[in-house]
Amino acid sequence: MFDSLTSRLGSVFEGLKRRGALKEADVKEAMREVRLALLEADVALPVVKSFIKTVTDKAVGAEVLKSVTPGQQVVKIVNDALVEMLGSENTGLNLLGEPPVAIMMVGLQGSGKTTSTAKIAKRLTEKERKKVMMASLDVARPAAQEQLAVLGEQVEVKTLPIVPGQQPVDIAKRAMQAARLGGFDVVMLDTAGRLHIDDSLMDEVAAVKAAAGPSETILVADAMTGQDAVTVADSFHKRIGLSGIMLTRIDGDARGGAALSMRQVTDCPIKFLGTGEKMDELEEFHADRIAGRILGMGDVVSLVEKAAETIEQEEAEALAKKMQKGEFDLDDMAKQLKQMRKMGGMEGLMGMLPGVGKMKQQMAGANIDDKMILRQEAIISSMTKKERQNPKVIHASRKKRIAAGSGTSVQDVNKLLKQHLMMSKMMKKVSKLGKKGFMRSLGNMMPPNMMPPGGMR
């Protein structure tokens, strides 16, 4: 359903001469695609509109760089604007002030507040060596306070003892008092989930804030949130004043447009990302990665930048043509491997795609590393021309020779041949899809199951 923006823009600019400045009419048309991509990514409509306006102004008249297509140029401009809007500065938590400093977590029901409270507490304890206490002010949800207590045990952070029947403002006061007496640096206050239109519960959380005087008030929101993100963030911000946003469930496959919506409407930095249910699955915010995700194409932009630097355009095009015909011999594979290596190797390439952490694990599992690329290049260079063009002729005795010549084993040679077979199958698929472009095929060259969700398709 989500075609990558790059290929969409590619078709907008098809037939356009490569060189020169971007024309207003073309940019306008391109922006229609950008608008659609953003809406599909759940960026809220008012935010989409203002964004499109900003980007149009930037794009009209911009020079198209050599060796880059107009479509790629527009993607770059769009991406840069998105990164800027998301806020590239990486702000940590504000823990200034006389201890104990309070951090309050607020948000809709089920957004991930309790889990995130414990994650942040763990991080502050372990990485910043703070003495942290957690307190649950959730008197509404069944077993909410027990939940935080269990998590406290898991992450080895103290939780305020539960006093049944005590109300949120009183619990907050008791927590601050206990922390003061116990010499704690930070008090994490987990609050009950609430709707932003529930006046009495919004009053309650405002009263808690007044009582605890937190240095951070963080809105915890689900990365899967739709258009309502603006309303929610705006209401919470207006009613109680936020200092930051945490986006949870970024480990899902949602495009995460809510990040942009909430950032835009509150002007609060996104401080953390929740990347899973486990207690160490917390990451700092990286605007470029989220931008790529919202646009639905991984960080194609830096890939484009690097590619433009290192790859001879003609060579890539020739290769693309061969692939389209479904031809892909071992010579071509050697070229691909070399280019991969030039672009920073697998690691570098992976680093530019979303969901990196997981992919690195998978990579480790599949034994794909840069050394392997080198070894594979060596194997191919030990083959005769005939063998490279027609791998079918490589039987047992030839395999032995090739292994000896490249300082590898027959097993390695077999592995390479198998991978080649797999790649050429994939190439055929690519060519059937009929879309050209080196980036696409490169993306498809990765072994199956290694492509991130919504990645470079």
Binding site: M1, E40, G110
Partner: protein, 305 residues
């Protein structure tokens, strides 16, 4: 407040946006391109998604383009079109007492409202005179078992549970056996929240289904996917994956008491045709209501029923 009032008061807040944008565009003026575009945007703002919004707008344009129309007419017409799409999926969950027990498995992404929905269903079906049992199949999340036990106490239903960390499939097996032994009519099985793109967690869920089927080949008789109304276009991916792996038989949409209206439902109804059995409109046991296409469509468009 009646549930409809509750739904409407929530809806009317989000709908004010739609309504005011539609009103400002259309009050006694020609339904021209510009008006249609803004109409389309109002639908997008309600999470119907760009494609469905465009389709609905186009069909409206066919019948009324360039006509002088009022705000009310446009809203009414759109609500009718939406109701036509939703009507076939508005079906309550039918419990068959002869199954002994009728087994309902409740699945969904994290925090969507599974456990709470089970509590509400327990209340609803107990009140109808059914003997209901609950299975604490979320053996992963901290205090998930305790949470369901409290719902069991509240609704007077027995809860089958093991300690956190136990095998979910094994628990489901136990639960069916004890539900049989106790002569329960309905067994509601909770599961841990999981994101649909996590292969291992989805495989675990598949195993739960497989183990259940060992005891009763026709079970689970229903597999409900619980969707949070605040969700955006990712709902497509959720439904698709859960359906393909555990054969979802119906949906429940929660948190419709907020300002998010789950407009993506309209597109989901067209694409998957899965019944929407019920909606959640609050956090108490009584806050589960039937899904009514007309009322939902009307409230989505800010119209009184």
């Amino acid at each position: 407040m009646s549930w409809f009032q509750k739904l409407k008061s929530g809806l009317s807040k989000s709908s004010t946006k739609i309504v005011s944008s539609i009103s400002s565009v259309i009050t006694k003026r020609k339904l021209d391109d510009e008006a249609l575009e803004e109409l389309e945007e109002a639908l997008i703002a309600a999470d119907l998604g760009p494609v469905t919004a465009a389709k609905l707008t186009a069909s409206l344009a066919k019948s009324r383009f360039d006509k002088e129309v009022t705000d009310e007419e446009v809203r009414g017409a759109l609500a009718e079109d939406i109701a036509i799409i939703l009507d076939p999926v508005a079906k309550p969950l039918e419990i068959d007492r002869s199954k002994g027990p009728h087994v309902v498995l409740v699945v969904g992404v994290n925090g969507s409202g599974k456990t709470t929905t089970i509590g509400k269903m327990a209340q609803h079906y107990s009140a109808q005179g059914l003997k209901v049992m609950l299975a604490a199949g979320d053996t992963f999340r901290a205090a998930a078992v305790e949470q369901l036990k409290i719902w069991g106490d509240r609704t007077g239903c027995k809860v089958v549970a093991r300690e956190t960390g136990a095998d979910a499939a094994g628990l489901a097996y136990d639960a069916i056996e004890s539900a049989r032994a106790e002569g329960a009519d309905l067994l509601l099985i909770d599961t841990a929240g999981r994101l649909h793109n996590k292969k291992d967690l989805m495989a675990e869920l598949e195993k739960v289904v497989r183990v259940i089927a060992k005891l009763d080949a026709s079970a689970p008789h229903n597999t409900l996917l619980v969707l949070d109304a605040t969700v955006g276009q990712n709902a497509h991916s959720q439904v698709e994956t859960f359906q393909s792996i555990v054969n979802v038989s119906g949906l429940v949409v929660t948190k419709l008491d907020g300002t998010a209206k789950g407009g993506v439902l309209v597109a989901l109804a067209e694409k998957f045709g899965l019944p929407v059995h019920a909606i959640g409109v609050g956090e108490t046991a009584d806050d589960l209501k039937p899904f009514e296409a007309d009322a939902y469509a009307k409230s989505l468009m800010g119209l009184a029923d």
